[in-house]
Symmetry: C2
Subunit: 202 residues, 2 copies
C-alpha cells in the first residue's frame, strides 16, 4: 500500500487525499505538520531534500514528491486524466498554471492569514499576493465561463486568504460541481487558533 | 507546422527551442517581448488570457500554454520523456520542482538584475530570492551528486541573477553534459542594456 506524508490543512496535500478517495484506492496517511518543522527533520530530509509535503512512499520505499506529479501518477489510467495527448497536455497545462500562478498567491495568502502572527512582517506581502491572486482567479473565471471543468486545489478555501469569490460566478458553479462528485471530501476546517487569525486578517 | 510565441532571452521559452532543435522538429518562432508588453495586447490575451510566453499554436489554431506542459507534449514518444509510469512521474516531479522552487527564484532574480532599473524597488526582493534560490540549487546538487541527469532550465544562466555556481560542482558537471548533447543551442546573450544592468547588480 502507498503512504502519503501530508499536512491535512494544506491544499497541496488535501488534493491527493481527495483523488485517492475518489479513486477508492487504499492508502496510509502520515500526518506531517510542515508549519511546525516536521518536514525539516533529518529523517524527512533524507527522503525529500526539498523538505516539503506531500510525499508519496511506495511499499518498496521509492519516493515521489511534488503534489501534481503525484496526482498525475495516481490518476494514470483513470477518468481523471485523459489519455489523448493533446487533452492530457491541456490538463498538465492547468496543473502547471495552478502551481505557478495560483498556489503561490492564493495558498500563500491563506497561510499568511491563518498561520502567521498578526504582526508578522510577512503580512506586508498580502496586498501584492491578493492582486496577483485575483489575476489568476480571473483567468480561471474566463475559462469556466466556457467550459465546465478543470483541475484545481486551493480555490475552495480562497476566502481564508481574503479573496471574495462572489465576483467569480462561473468559478463558484465549478466549485459546486467539484463538491458534488462521488467520493468528494472537504478540507478539514482550520484549527481554532488559525481560524481566529483568519477572522482577524480582514 | 507548429508556431512558438516566445521571448528568446527567457529560459521558459528557450527550453522549447532547445528541445525542438534536439528533436529536429520544424517550427515557426514568433519573437514576443514579454518585457515590453507584447504578451498583454488584446490579440495575445485572446489566445492566452494569462498573458505569458511561451505559447504553442498548432496549424489548426489550437493553443497550448505553460512551458513544461508544452515540453511534455513535444517530448512524448521521444527519448526525452520516459514511457514507464514511475520514471515519467519522476521527470514530472522535477519539472514541477523547476517551476515552483527554482524558476521563481533563479529566473526572477535574473530578470530583476538585468531587466529592471538599478533603483527599482523590486531589487529589495533579491536577498530573499537568492537565499531561496540557493536552497533549490542545493537540492539539485544533492541529486546530481548521485545521478547524471534531470530536466531543468535557467540554471545555466543563474550567474546573471547573482548565483555563483562554483559551490555546486555536480551541477556544473551536469551543465557541461547538457551543453554537449546533440542539437544543443545556447541561450542568446542578453542585449547590451541588460548585460550592463547585470554587471552592475553585483
Amino acid at each position: 500500500m502507498i503512504t502519503i506524508h501530508g499536512y491535512s490543512p494544506s491544499g497541496n496535500c488535501h488534493k491527493l487525499r481527495l483523488l485517492l478517495e475518489q479513486l477508492g484506492r487504499p492508502y496510509r496517511w502520515v500526518e506531517t505538520d510542515s508549519s511546525r518543522g516536521q518536514t525539516r527533520t533529518p529523517d524527512y530530509l533524507a527522503l525529500n531534500p526539498n523538505g516539503k509535503v506531500p510525499m508519496l512512499v511506495r511499499e518498496d520505499g521509492a519516493v515521489l514528491v511534488e503534489s501534481n506529479a503525484i496526482l498525475h501518477y495516481l490518476a494514470e489510467g483513470s477518468s481523471f486524466l485523459p489519455d489523448e495527448p493533446w487533452a492530457r497536455a491541456q490538463a498538465l497545462s492547468w496543473m502547471f498554471f495552478e502551481q505557478y500562478s495560483h498556489e503561490p498567491c492564493i495558498a500563500v495568502a491563506r497561510f499568511i492569514c491563518g498561520w502567521t502572527a498578526l504582526d508578522s512582517p510577512r503580512r506586508d506581502a498580502l496586498p501584492g499576493l491578493r492582486a496577483r491572486g485575483h489575476q489568476a482567479l480571473a483567468v480561471m473565471e474566463r475559462h469556466l465561463s466556457r467550459h465546465p471543468w478543470f483541475t484545481g486545489a486551493y480555490t475552495g478555501v480562497a476566502g481564508d486568504g481574503g479573496f471574495d469569490l462572489a465576483a467569480y460566478p462561473a468559478l463558484c458553479d465549478w466549485l459546486a460541481r467539484v463538491r458534488a462528485t462521488p467520493g468528494f471530501v472537504p478540507m478539514p476546517p482550520p484549527a481554532p487558533e488559525h481560524a481566529a487569525l483568519i477572522a482577524a486578517s480582514g
